[in-house]
Symmetry: C2
């Protein structure tokens, strides 16, 4: 199991958190997704590492921005 952490910009409420969770959960290989609204922290667990570009696409699909490290 692999865990990767990202920061998401633009979430303002619980609905935003739900949207991000929903889209990121649909990325192939993702087994669990946690999102913290206050910090914008997005934690993605998967069996094998996932391309950050796929996570970025999912976050953008939800209408938010992935902060580049």
């Amino acid at each position: 199991m692999t865990s990767a952490t990202y920061t998401v910009k633009g979430m303002t409420c619980g609905h935003c958190v739900s949207s991000v969770k929903e889209e990121v959960s649909e990325v192939a290989g993702v087994s669990s997704v946690e999102v913290d609204l206050a910090s914008g922290l997005l934690t993605v667990e998967s069996v094998s590492p996932i391309d950050a570009a796929d996570i970025r696409s999912a976050v953008e699909e939800a209408g938010y921005e992935l902060v580049t490290k």
Copy 2:
């Protein structure tokens, strides 16, 4: 046709607007609902006047607060 205007507190994004619209639209007699995120303005149209308590209940059901005039 009657139009009544209220102010809703706590909405932060388009999802919040959708939640309020959805709940208020379900109030018996409501024919149209408009919500402005920036101002919090909620405009409710109906054939006959609607009890403000019913609108308040719907807004609270959505998770937001109706500002008392």
